[in-house]
Every structure is written in C-alpha cells, then in structure tokens.
C-alpha cells in the first residue's frame, strides 16, 4: 500500500500565490511515501514545501522553473509499476495523446505522468496509462484561463492502482477515483 502524490504546474509566485488552503490542509506529512512533480513549481520555496510533505521527491523541469538542474524526464519503479515523469511542453502537439504514447514507449513505463495542459486527464492505450494531474493551484495556462485546481494521489497495491483525483470545484474539494490493474507482473 504505497501512496504516491502527483502534482505540478503550480506557477508560484508568477501566476498563483499558493496552493489552495483546502489542499494544503490535506497534505499532511507522514501519510505519503513518494511525490512526483511534473514541473513549473517555479520557486525554490515550493520545492522545500514539497520536501516537508514527503522527503522522496521526484521532479522534472518545466519551461518556467527557476532551478535549471531538474532533469527533462525521470523514471522510477514503485512496487510492480514503472512510472515515468515529464513536464510535457517538449511533446508537440501539447497534450496530444498519441505523441505522449510515443514518449511513454520511449521511456518504457507503465504509467506516464505529464503536465503542462493544466487539465486533468487519465487515458489508457496499448503501452500503458497517461495521467495528467492538472495544475495544483489552478494557474492559467497558455491554452486556457478556466482551470480548476487539481492533483492526483495514487495508491499502488500489488498489481492494482487506485487513482484518487482531487479537484477544487466552486470552493469544494471533490474526490473521484479510478481503478485499474495490470495483467502481468513487471519483468525484473
């Protein structure tokens, strides 16, 4: 039972001052084992804050990040699943599912976490699953101004993943879940 937090595109301080208070009150340290961040934090303080939520932080570089040393892509293995992280501005057209599928095959991962579109999506195709946690602060994107703050929490338990989607709609936190499982085990 491993809890993995996936979020990104906060754009603090340029486009948003902070995470919504209701999100912050839920992100209590000690519950989450890993944090995956797609990028565009942008300030160092956000990095430090995320480290307090969980010390195991994986982050990739978004185009507005102030820290130049984050990698472009990252892969990690949690339990039976291989996860890949990439901000997504590198993949053109932005948010195109087929192009993202190409990136996923390139990284050879079961679950690809990307951002940049500031819209939550969860899509599956032959190579695996693509999850976009959206923008955790609801910052406007190059594509649209109408953004609901959202992030994703994955509960990885053996071959099964339950994805909890947290969205802030009209000031209330709405939680949905998505359940999927892998049919074969990962080869060593």
């Amino acid at each position: 039972m491993v809890l993995v937090l996936a979020l990104g595109d906060l754009h603090i301080p340029h486009r948003a001052p902070d995470l919504p208070a209701k999100f912050k009150s839920m992100l209590v340290p000690g519950k989450i084992q890993h944090v995956i961040c797609t990028g565009n934090l942008c300030a160092k303080e956000v990095h430090d804050y995320l480290k307090t939520v969980c010390p195991d932080l994986h982050i990739t570089r978004g185009e507005y990040d102030e820290e130049p040393r984050y990698p472009e892509t990252k892969t990690l293995t949690i339990g039976q699943f291989k996860l890949g992280v990439c901000h997504g501005h590198q993949v053109i057209p932005w948010g195109d599912l087929d192009s993202l599928a190409m990136l996923q095959r390139q990284l050879d991962v079961d679950i690809l976490v990307t951002g940049h579109t500031h819209q939550f999506t969860a899509y599956k195709h032959e190579a695996g699953v693509v999850i976009n946690p959206g923008s955790a602060t609801g910052a406007f994107s190059s594509i649209t101004y109408d953004v609901n703050p959202s992030f994703v929490l994955m509960d990885i338990d053996g071959l099964r993943v339950v994805v909890y989607v947290y969205e802030l709609i009209d000031g209330e936190v709405k939680v949905d879940k998505i359940d999927f499982k892998k049919t074969t085990t990962a080869t060593a």
């Binding site: 039972m1 999506t121 879940k177 999927f180 049919t183």
Partner: protein
C-alpha cells in the same frame, strides 16, 4: 503500638541473603539459583524450604529419577483418579522420598501436579497450592497450569477442546479484521464494483467513479478508515520499536533467526490487536515485557497443537492478566485511589507494618521513596529485576496465590526489601538506590518463602 525493635524472627540469619554467587551470563535461560543456604532451624511449614536445594545442584539428577518415579506413581494415580484420597497418596510418596535425594521433593511436586492435571475436573484450590511452591522443570505443565490459573481453560477437562477452538477462532477473526490496511478494506468493500479498468491495450479514457462515503487517503474525517489507519500507525511504530527491544539477550526473542522473527511478529500482532480493541488504554511501554514471559511459556509447550496456537492463547491470557493491572498503565489514574501512586503507598505501608526500622531508615533518613525503585517492580511484575527463569518462578507464585496477583506482588516486593535489609540499613541514599535499582540476584524460593511469611498478621 510502636515497635522500635525488629521482631526476633526477622533478626535470625535466615532472612539475610548470602552474597550471591556470580550468575553465569547465559544465552539460554538456565536455572542458576544454586546458592547454598543454611537449613532453617525452625521450618514452620513442612517441605517448602528444602525445595531450595532442588532447583540448582540436582538439576541433572532430576531427569533420571523422574521417569522411574513417575512411572511407579502413575499406576497408583490412575487407580485413584476419581476419589480424593490422592492427598493421602501423595503424602505417602512424599514422606517416603523425603529422607532420600533432595531433588525428590521437586519430583514429587511434579508428580502431584501431573496427577492433579490428569483429573477429569481439576480442583483449583489444590492446583493453586501446588503451583505456589513453584512449577518445576518440565515446561509442558507450566503452560497448562498458567492457562488454568488465568481462567483461560475451565477446570473441567472435557470442555477444553471446544473452549480452545472457540477462543482460537475468535482471535483469528480479530487479527484478520484489525490488521488489514485500508487498501485491502476498500478492495473488499468494492468487490462487486464493475469499474475496474483492465489494461488490455484498447485505447480510451479511463472511467472515473465516485468515491464512496468520502473515503480517500487524505481524508481528515473522524470516521474515515484512512484517517484512523494513520493515527494508529504511530502506536504501531511504538509497538514495533518495543518488540525489537524485548529481551535482547534471549535467542527466543531477538536475533536474525526466522524463529526469533516469527516470535517478534506474534508479539507485535498481539499488542496491535490489544491496542485496537482497547482504545481507552491502547499501548503503553512495558506491556511488551508483561507479554513476553506468557508467550515464551506457551510457545514452548511440548504439545504441538498448543505451541502452534500460542499466539491466540497468549492474547487471551494477556488480557486476563492485564485486567488486574490496567490501572497502573493509565496515566490519568496515576494519582487516584487505584493508580500506581496509591499502590506504591500501600507498599510503603506494608513495609512499615512488618519492618518499621527499615521503613524509617529508607523513607525518612535516606529519603528513598518507593517511586524511585518500586515503580518498575510493580508495573512490569518483576520481569526486569531477575533473570528470565527466576521471573517465571515468581510468576508461578503470583498467578497461583488465592489473594490475587496485586496483593502477592506487594508482598514479594516487601520481601525483596527485607531480604537485603542489612545492606540497606548500612547504606545512604545513593548506595541504597543503586542497590534497589539493580537488585542483586537471590535465591527465589527463599524470597517466596519470606513473602509468604508476610502474610501472617503481626503479633503485638
């Protein structure tokens, strides 16, 4: 009436424990109480004191005479099983062997115990009397005797299989229910749900579904299983730490062998189930120390089936044992009438009644309050003061005494003080505290004998 002088019976050389022999540091709990003691000139009760010989020196001798003696006595036992002439029988055998080998005393006690246990309905009073003298060597009896004394097994033998089966399955349910993590719980609750997406390769958006009852991992709701899980995780971590630290010198409990790890696992499960079933008291440090001897004895039961179900049996006996001592662990009750402070005051009173000179010296002259040394004695039931085997003997007396474990414990603590009175009277605060916090190893039968003597109300 104020007694200035120590009563004569207390002043005889019998009460002071001789310089203890250096106890050999051993990994396996070996009986090491072999200090020779002067045969007391006025034994008030018949064979009890001579048993002090039996434990140490003649250990090797016990094995061989045991089989032959038991063999010869058992035939007599079986014929007299139903009637109560067994007491006459045992005195005959005891009288016959008393003049012979000192170990025979212990053997005859073992025989009596085995005989008592083999009856159809066990006489609890008789069992208590026999057990209070110490349950000898063969660990097989100790497990069963303790289970009887703690009320886990009923005195009627025929009810044993059904009772055991019932309790063991009950524990199994507790375990399954309480040790599940929230992921498994949600999975079981939603077995019927059809929203499961299979990664079978067909492209498309993954279907979203509503979260039931607002149950998600970051939920802060009081009734959320996730929230409760995270709150309990603190206690679980504490239990983990304490279990790893239990008895690091004994192979049974610590080390890297799979046996030790599985034993630690069992201790951990019992403590977690107990903490979850008792939200009022949950887990307090020290409960692992009280659990350890119980589990050790039950796991080492020669009967295979009992040994395999040791975890379940230990859980219920632990609950029973702790029920008398719960109040010691509740912090809010510390200062109340039932709390640990008042128990310490009672110990003080007891000492004052029996040995005023020592009491005065300890509490008034050197200001050594009972809470400095007796806190650990009382809350941990003396498991930390003596080596493991000795504490098993003390627990024999504690559990079997009809007065109840609390009263007996106080008497034994008082006896511990009286036995080292010469050194205490000669010492100041520092040396007394040092002596009492690192209590010297002593002859356990002697200690129990003194404790028993304290039961007699003082004559004026």
């Amino acid at each position: 009436m104020v007694k200035k002088r120590v009563p004569d019976w207390l002043n005889s050389s019998v009460w002071s424990s001789p310089q203890p022999p250096p106890s050999p540091p051993s990994k396996e709990p070996v009986k090491s109480t072999a200090s020779p003691i002067v045969e007391p000139p006025l034994p008030p009760e018949p064979p009890r004191t001579s048993s002090s010989h039996a434990t140490g020196a003649a250990k090797g001798g016990i094995r061989d005479p045991l089989s032959s003696n038991y063999g010869s006595n058992s035939s007599i036992c079986h014929s007299d099983e139903e009637n109560r002439s067994s007491s006459a029988n045992s005195t005959v055998s005891a009288g016959g062997v008393q003049s012979a080998h000192p170990a025979a005393e212990e053997i005859s006690r073992q025989v009596q115990l085995l005989q008592e246990l083999s009856r159809k309905v066990i006489n609890m009073g008789e069992l208590r009397r026999l057990a209070s003298q110490g349950i000898p060597g063969a660990a097989g009896i100790r497990a069963t005797v303790w289970k009887l004394l703690l009320g886990y097994l009923p005195p009627d033998r025929s009810l044993w299989p059904s009772e055991l089966a019932k309790k063991r399955s009950q524990y199994k349910h507790f375990r399954e229910e309480l040790l599940m993590n929230p992921s498994e719980i949600t999975r079981r609750l939603e077995k019927s749900s059809t929203e499961n997406n299979e990664l079978d390769g067909s492209p498309g958006f993954l279907t979203r579904s509503e979260v039931t009852h607002g149950e998600h991992p970051l939920s802060l709701g009081k009734n959320s299983i996730w929230n409760q899980f995270f709150q309990d995780s603190e206690i679980v971590q504490q239990i983990d730490r304490d279990v790893k630290r239990t008895h690091p010198d004994i192979h049974f409990f610590s080390g890297d062998s799979t046996f030790a790890i599985s034993n630690q696992e069992a201790l951990r499960n019992i403590l977690i189930v107990f903490a979850k079933l008792n939200p009022g008291i949950k887990y307090v440090q020290g409960m692992n120390e009280i659990l350890a001897p119980l589990f050790y004895v039950f796991k080492n039961d020669p009967d295979e089936e009992n040994s395999a179900s040791a975890e379940a049996d230990t859980f219920f006996c632990f609950v029973e044992l702790l029920s008398g001592f719960r109040d010691n662990f509740v912090q809010q009750l510390d200062n109340s009438v039932v709390g640990i402070r008042s128990t310490l005051t009672r110990l003080s009173q007891l000492l004052k009644e029996h040995d005023e000179e020592l009491w005065r010296h300890l509490e008034i002259t050197t200001k050594v309050n009972p809470q400095f040394y007796a806190f650990r004695w009382i809350t941990l039931l003396l498991t930390q003061e003596f080596n493991f085997t000795d504490s098993l003997f003390i627990w024999d007396a504690l559990l079997s005494d009809p007065d109840g474990p609390q009263e007996t414990l106080l008497r034994i603590c008082c006896a511990m003080l009286i036995i080292v009175r010469k050194r205490l009277l000669a010492g100041d605060f520092t040396s007394n505290l040092k002596l009492l916090q690192h209590y010297p190893s002593t002859n356990i039968s002697h200690l129990l004998y003194v404790a028993d003597k304290l039961r007699i109300p003082l004559a004026g």
